[in-house]
Symmetry: C2
Subunit: 195 residues, 2 copies
DNA sequence: GTCTATAATTTGATAGAC
DNA sequence: GTCTATCAAATTATAGAC
């Protein structure tokens, strides 16, 4: 699964052959088919791998006390991974973009679900910050990330990531803090998913 | 070329076969090879077609007197084409994303050039507005477009385009006007939600 | 479970009649 | 210039020995 995720990210789903993944995992092709009946199942496994990495990241960020700090750290993580973004784009975004051009197999919806995972988590942070329209703000932040990744990749320019990352950090810093003065402190929104 | 541009946009470059394009153009496959020696040349033609459409659009917008108005119309054009973005994403952006995963043929740089065409034109408008760092603002605006297109596509939600488009229009409207005789423009603020 | 060999299909590209 | 027929290579998937 790790080999599938990496090779598919670098070459794209369509260009990647089973032999490519088998070689990366250092196993014969026949062995791959023992665990994954079709190529689509391998792509689905790559998506699941990316979803897993995302959960590891948000799980780590959740240990920070301040939602604003979590979002800032998220942006900093994106910027710190700029070299891979410049070369291959966002793993989930580029894969979603490719899979969305299919109309068979339903792999496109699978990709959408992984993206929604991130959008929902970000929206949760904005909600905890007491912001109106947290979903809209989440779409803005995640959209900015997808956009700067695509541009950095297409223009082969890592400074796109650093410059736009700075801008996003400034924006997050300018958001009003509900904990600052009056108003209900914590417990503003339920800790679980509200969807 | 028009058939190539449309089919490649809908199916992606890798998934599109010469037969697909030939069928869309209503000619036999052998005929296609008379004009385009390889499949890569067909993809390059599709890119050129998108670049041509972009030049038609900016040429039209250039006839407007106010640079700010040009940018607003650009955003409105993007939003008006939301249905195609929801289904297939931005033609140039998705193609660039796909081609950037290749390391042969140099088609990736070709895609980057088309994106740069748009970024440079937008930067020119910001420069005419007297904005500092017009290139950075252009990357922000074009990045926002690429990001909202990708999210609208992945989430199959046209309201992403309308909502984020509204936000961009508000941001453009808040920019200081250099033609107004009074005070120096204030520092730029990132495209956050108006408060 | 692992691996080699191979079947079955698709597809980029060409030959050659018209 | 247009079109049909076809080749050669690549690739998904399977069969079957170990």
């Amino acid at each position: 699964m790790a080999a599938a995720a990496q090779v598919v990210h670098r070459q794209g789903a369509e260009r990647t052959t089973i032999a490519d993944i088998a070689r990366a995992a250092d196993v014969p092709v026949g062995n791959v088919y023992y665990y994954f009946k079709t190529k689509d199942e391998l792509v689905k496994a790559a998506l699941a791998e990316h979803a897993h990495q995302l959960e590891l990241l948000t799980g780590e960020l959740d240990r920070l006390g301040d939602p604003r700090e979590r979002l800032k750290r998220l942006v900093e993580t994106w910027v710190s991974q700029r070299d891979v973004a410049v070369r291959y784009g966002c793993p989930t975004g580029t894969l979603a973009s490719e899979l969305d051009k299919r109309d068979e197999g339903g792999l496109d919806e699978e990709a959408g679900r992984v993206i929604r995972l991130l959008v929902d988590w970000v929206a949760g942070q904005f909600a905890q910050l007491g912001q109106p329209d947290p979903e809209g703000l989440a779409l803005t932040l995640v959209g900015a990330y997808q956009g700067m990744s695509l541009l950095a990749n297409a223009l082969r320019d890592p400074t796109v990531m650093t410059r736009q990352g700075e801008r996003l950090l400034g924006w997050l810093g300018s958001l009003p803090d509900p904990l600052a003065t009056d108003g209900p402190p914590a417990g503003d929104s339920p800790p679980g998913e509200g969807r």
